[in-house]
Symmetry: C2
Subunit: 457 residues, 2 copies
């Protein structure tokens, strides 16, 4: 992202939820911004001020999208047909086919447009779970981190703060080497992964984190290397876990442990670790995650799209795991929809309401995601990053919302299409519903995606 | 609705799906409209024409919303708090509280705004399951159908074609009379219901249908009266069925039959009947509905919101029941979201993809809904009503869609917010995303809803 303007800016929010556990929505909140941070918050600042940017609607802390594979946005609408409609594994074949067609230039164009889509939906920070490291044959590019560099540049140009979760991916399964399209995902071993990851150069506003692709793809000894690398840098560590029953069965057969059990035994769990999906867990798994304060990133629109199932979100919270959300495959890019789906999908399988409050879901979508990505923020208070998002309350979806249920209305009925203003690190990224830097995100998406499919046989 | 303009109009759709079982999307389709009907359809009409309205994006037949309780839109965002968050039955208490505060004037303002919201989302026809007949005490208004008349006027002013499903609602449960807020729902008996329903005067473009509220609310003898009334007029008949397990249990205990079994024994099933929800069915129930070609209206966003559960949609189709969709409580008003939810919710509970194709879901959302509402249409061919909807393909949600998967992209990723043009019975109702008649639907919603809650203690 270009450096934040050094001058001070003042915003007057008609209504604001300032983040944190309180569901209170305040009127006429003046947010003063200096050098990318919030300098002052004045409550009941009065309805009119000169020299301020007025934010009509409800302003909240910036949203954090804790799990993204940006390139998978190109598959939207393209995996429901006959060849890839069966299950997660046949979907994965379509995804591998796409992955094989990407080079640094195409990844830059695609990711920039996808991060632009995120910005329009109110997302100020994203965690990119990045494993497209090498050339399709598996040979490193001349510049070893050119693909990661493309993601860094894409996020900067789209005005979204990036946590690049550089992913260790060493084998195709418990008893299989990397094969075919997987070859470009892999480093020779965990030490080679760590050496490459050490070389990534990023601007100040980018966080480098680590990821273990999964217990399928990384053996326990290598997991420990990744864990040490992350601990040494104070970096967040993410790992896919138990999205599919087949992964659990293979892990049990190969190691005698569940995936969560294996992560625990390998020292991977803990408060700076985020497990992604956590769909098919045993009671012991839930207890292990909660007792270690391991974070859980749910990706409910992807999990619904891929027929994964419904994870035990409420039980995880009760056990002690903070939640966050990710749009993952980008079947949908809308953190309000991710947030409500956590409650709504538990309603479907339990036939009861009331598993998660709106304010808890919003905290997960803001501060919870920021923490998972190794960042502060997610709350509007002096000293915090000046990340905030305004949602209009006069659209057909949001109109008629009333004070006592305003956060409920936001979580259960608003859409990314209702976001009008986004300020990220003090810089206006979205103004009146339009992206300031990219101009036409729809055009950018089409330009990036269409060529990827025109060449297919 | 005001009469359709008598002059001819011509529209050139950049891309069009013309309805029916074929998933083919054609380029440059010229739609000629005369007196509210499609006069001619020219394929490959060429990219440029003078004197035509160009429709950029994908044009499809108008959507039909087969199940609406317009007034419940006021509850959006207001039932997730402590007092009404438990289950369907506690939600129903909040709904009853709202129902008690409505009079004809307020219902008109609210329903007009809600139908305006529907028009903006591409809905050309709606079925209103109407039971707010009398004054709150249960005494008929001086003009017995003044509440139904408000709905007719509201739909006309919002440019949505109405099927008024006048609902027979006689008791509070198998062994309970109507009580409290239910009193205004009830006529003295089924014959009194039929006499009142006979008196409704509506314009030519409104269809009068019948509804049986549920097996809880109408005894078998009275169901037969309603059935005869509908048959005598060639009118569609709708009935809520098996949304909740408690209804099934009470019906079995009181009658020894399941709700569907009781409907069958009472002669209610058949191809002009639509059962709404059909969530908790036995194998026999599914076979009965399919064998009688009874239509099934699923309302998945409401069923998810109310924690009803996931109905056996694919099994119903296989058995022989055509599907249609309704937004019911209007937690969401978006038929694309209803359509995809039918597939996605079955994915969640089966952990498999591929239960319904996009074209099947679109047929249910268009022609299926129109048939359920006693109407022709849902297909773009000469002689059909000129109802069509254009969805932009350059929004962040829809951009990048490609020819082979265009209908998949529409069903699985588009939103009501992507609708740019709506023509209903030949009349432009939505142009460039704005409602032609109501100007500001958000403002109308807020004006209608806010006063309903300000007076609460």
């Amino acid at each position: 992202m270009r450096p934040a303007p050094s001058g001070a800016h003042r915003y007057l929010a008609e209504l604001a939820w300032l983040g944190g556990p309180s569901p209170v929505v305040e009127k006429e909140v003046l947010l003063e911004v200096h050098n990318g941070r919030i300098a002052a918050v004045t409550h009941q600042a009065g309805p009119r001020r000169d020299g301020v940017v007025r934010l009509a609607g409800l302003t909240i802390p910036g949203l954090a999208n804790a799990h993204s594979h940006a390139f998978q946005r190109a598959l939207r609408g393209r995996t429901h047909g006959r060849t890839s409609n069966g299950d997660f594994w046949s979907w994965r074949d379509a995804m591998y086919g796409l992955a094989a067609r990407l080079d640094p230039e195409r990844l830059l164009a695609l990711a920039r447009a996808v991060y632009g889509e995120m910005a329009l939906a109110g997302i100020c920070a994203v965690g990119e779970f990045h494993y497209l490291h090498h050339s399709p044959s598996g040979r490193p590019y001349g510049e070893a981190n050119v693909m990661g560099g493309a993601l860094v540049q894409a996020a900067s140009e789209a005005g979204v703060r990036l946590t690049l979760l550089d992913t260790c991916y060493l084998r195709g399964g418990f008893d299989r080497p990397l094969d075919g399209p997987q070859k470009r995902f892999g480093d020779r071993d965990a030490h080679a992964w760590a050496r490459r990851a050490d070389l990534i150069e990023v601007p100040d506003d980018t966080v480098i984190g680590a990821a273990i692709h999964s217990v399928r793809a990384v053996d326990p000894g290598s997991m420990e290397v990744v864990r040490e690398w992350a601990d040494g840098r104070g970096a967040p560590l993410h790992v896919h876990v138990s999205e599919q029953r087949a992964e659990n069965e293979a892990c049990l057969a190969a190691t005698g442990r569940t995936p969560v059990g294996l992560l625990e035994a390998s020292g991977v769990l803990g408060p700076t670790t985020t497990v992604v999906h956590a769909t098919h867990l045993s009671g012991d798994d839930i207890a292990r995650l909660g007792a270690s304060s391991t974070r859980v990133c749910l990706c409910p629109t992807t999990e619904r799209d891929l027929a994964d199932g419904v994870g035990p979100a409420a039980a995880l919270v009760t056990a002690g795991s903070p939640l966050c959300f990710g749009s993952d495959s980008h079947a949908v890019v809308d953190l309000f929809e991710e947030a409500r789906a956590v409650e709504l999908d538990e309603r479907l399988v339990t036939e009861r309401r009331g598993h998660h409050s709106a304010v808890d879901l919003l905290q997960a979508a803001t501060a919870g995601g920021m923490r998972s990505l190794g960042r502060s923020g997610g709350v509007l208070e002096p000293g915090a990053p000046a990340d905030f998002v305004t949602v209009r309350l006069d659209s057909p979806r949001t109109a008629g919302a009333g004070a006592p249920g305003l956060l409920d209305h936001l979580v259960f009925a608003a859409s990314g299409a209702d976001v009008t203003h986004v300020v990220t690190e003090g810089r206006p990224v979205v103004v009146d519903g339009a992206h300031v830097g990219l101009v036409d995100v729809g055009h950018a998406l089409a330009e990036a995606i269409t060529p990827l499919f025109e060449e297919q046989p």
